[in-house]
């Protein structure tokens, strides 16, 4: 089991946001967390990677308890989060943003990065090329400040930055947000492609139907609890899920 979440309870100030939820993700899967706004799916993702402190419960990554670890401590272990809302480094270029994705493996703190005649511990250029082949539009924009990109392109930068070190588990918070509706398909195609490359994916998505079509398994959240969990295909066929969560009559 790659990720195991046991009896997680999270409070936002005094408000109970997640009550005693448990979930698992095995290597190679795409797992979707869906549900209405405020159901706690994003909270779950933040608690898993340490952006939020859970009140109780355990998070195990590759069998190791990662409770109380902050996101920056998990990057080297192979767990990366793409936070909600296209959080790119706006004053840096696309290339610099991607370089920051390899922050934990580049050489010493005082060294000069991104100079061509230097030999860093890892070949950043090669890692960057891989991201460009996944998102060709970023190649054209590499010298542009990330703050000047369209929201979709910024999301690509955020995802590309998280993929620089080829994480074992990628957490995506609302990956389709910011893309125009007719591009959402493409985003999920890319997610599938990333997954085929050997990265396990746990994602939170507003666009429930689309997420379940691409996912292997799904968890349906409802007011701080998991209401359903099943194979994505079964969830799509489950009458109750379709009625309450996929907006069908």
């Amino acid at each position: 089991m790659l990720l195991e979440v046991k009896n997680l309870t999270v409070y936002y100030d005094a408000v109970l946001a997640l009550e005693n939820i448990s979930l698992t993700v095995s290597g190679g899967e795409i797992v979707a967390m869906i549900g209405p706004n405020g159901a706690g799916k994003s909270t779950a993702l933040k608690a898993i990677c340490g952006l939020l402190k859970p009140q109780s419960g355990d998070v195990l990554f590759q069998g190791e308890n990662i409770n109380g670890k902050q996101p920056y401590q998990l990057v080297e272990k192979g767990l990366c989060l793409v936070p909600e809302g296209r959080r790119v480094f706006t004053s840096m270029t696309v290339l610099e943003n991607l370089e920051m994705g390899a922050y934990t493996v580049t050489s010493g703190q005082w060294s000069v990065v991104s100079r061509k005649n230097r030999q860093p511990k890892v070949d950043i250029r090669q890692l960057v090329e891989k991201i460009f082949s996944l998102f060709p539009v970023l190649n054209k924009r590499q010298k542009q400040k990330a703050g000047t990109l369209s929201s979709g392109e910024q999301q690509m930068v955020a995802i590309g930055r998280a993929l620089m070190l080829k994480p074992k588990l990628l957490l995506l918070d609302e990956p389709s947000l910011g893309f125009s509706p007719n591009y959402v398909d493409t985003v999920f195609e890319k997610i599938k492609e990333i997954n085929r490359g050997g990265t396990t994916i746990l994602l939170v998505e507003q666009n429930a139907r689309m997420a379940l079509e691409y996912a292997d398994r799904g968890y349906v959240f409802e007011i701080g609890k998991i209401a359903f969990e099943d194979k994505a295909k079964n969830l799509l066929e489950n009458d109750e899920v379709r009625k309450s969560f996929l907006g069908e009559r």
């Binding site: 480094f89 922050y103 580049t106 010493g108 005082w110």
Partner: protein, 295 residues
């Protein structure tokens, strides 16, 4: 009259470089913590007193004292963060709490300095006063040349550090978006400590340089802090080139302003400029308009 202008210009540039250093340090810290670190002013004072202790009491040479005083100022900055701000961060304190705490630190340390050194004026200048160099009708002393050169060198170092080194880039990343920096593997606490070290070293350097030029006293930090903050705001809060621009602009405005009106109005000029900027262009010369800043 031309000579007066040249002399005022020299004075303006010297004052401007001190303001710019204070504003730079303030900005470096502001960028990572996003609150107004008022105790920055007392770090400037401490820098001057460190230099006084090393030069007058311990008889160390100027260059070594300068360097050591900057290191001590950096340590003081880190200590303020570690013992005051860090515990507050752990409790998710609001910006207002940080602001009040930074005032508290300012008053506490200023009084501590007064307790140790006394309230009277002290001076580092020991030798006879040498006549300055004549330059385009203006007089500029060795110390003033040192102030200008040292400030410019520090500014260039800071710029190269922020732009080129990995640590500098990580600091820029935290300034842009602390959450995004955290998820790529940057320890935010470490960057906050680094920014306090660098920012405080710059404030210390300004204090040391001014102590070579004028007398020092425990209360010197407050007006320096205000000038530094005004410079940071008119340059564009959070902008590093803006802090330098704001510092020199303020120095010029103050010193050229008193060409025509009495020198007693110097501070008034600074605040008038601040108020004009807050009304017309609150994001300053180089700040970003969209950012909504909270103190």
């Amino acid at each position: 009259m031309n000579n007066v202008f040249c002399q005022l210009l020299v004075n303006a540039v010297i004052a401007g470089s001190i303001y710019a250093l204070i504003a730079l340090g303030f900005t470096v810290i502001y960028r990572t913590v996003k609150f107004f670190h008022f105790a920055h002013g007392v770090v400037y004072t401490a820098g001057a007193y460190f230099a006084y202790t090393l030069i007058i009491s311990l008889h160390l040479n100027f260059a070594l004292s300068f360097f050591l005083s900057m290191v001590l100022a950096a340590i003081l900055g880190i200590a303020i963060d570690r013992f005051v701000y860090y515990p507050l961060r752990q409790q998710n304190a609001s910006n207002l709490i940080f602001l009040l705490a930074s005032f508290g630190v300012f008053i506490f340390l200023q009084n501590l300095i007064q307790l140790i050194y006394g309230a009277q004026i002290l001076t580092i200048r020991t030798g006879p006063i040498k006549e300055g160099h004549h330059f385009l009708g203006a007089v500029i002393t060795d110390v003033q040349i040192l102030i200008l050169a040292a400030s410019i060198i520090l500014m260039i170092f800071l710029w190269l550090f922020i732009q080129k080194t990995k640590l500098g880039k990580a600091m820029r990343a935290v300034a842009d978006d602390p959450v995004a920096a955290n998820v790529v593997g940057i320890n935010p606490e470490r960057m906050i400590r680094t920014s306090f070290a660098i920012g405080s070293a710059l404030a210390g350097a300004a204090g040391i340089l001014i102590s070579f030029e004028t007398n020092i006293e425990p209360t010197m930090g407050f007006s320096a802090l205000l000038k530094g903050i005004i410079a940071a705001i008119i340059g564009g809060i959070g902008s590093i080139p803006g802090a330098v621009l704001g510092g020199f602009f303020l120095g010029l405005a103050e010193n050229l302003g008193i060409w025509k009106i009495s020198a007693g109005w110097k501070d008034c000029i600074a605040f008038a400029i601040l108020i004009i900027f807050l009304f017309i262009r609150p994001w300053g010369f180089l700040g970003t308009k969209t950012e909504k800043e909270t103190i």
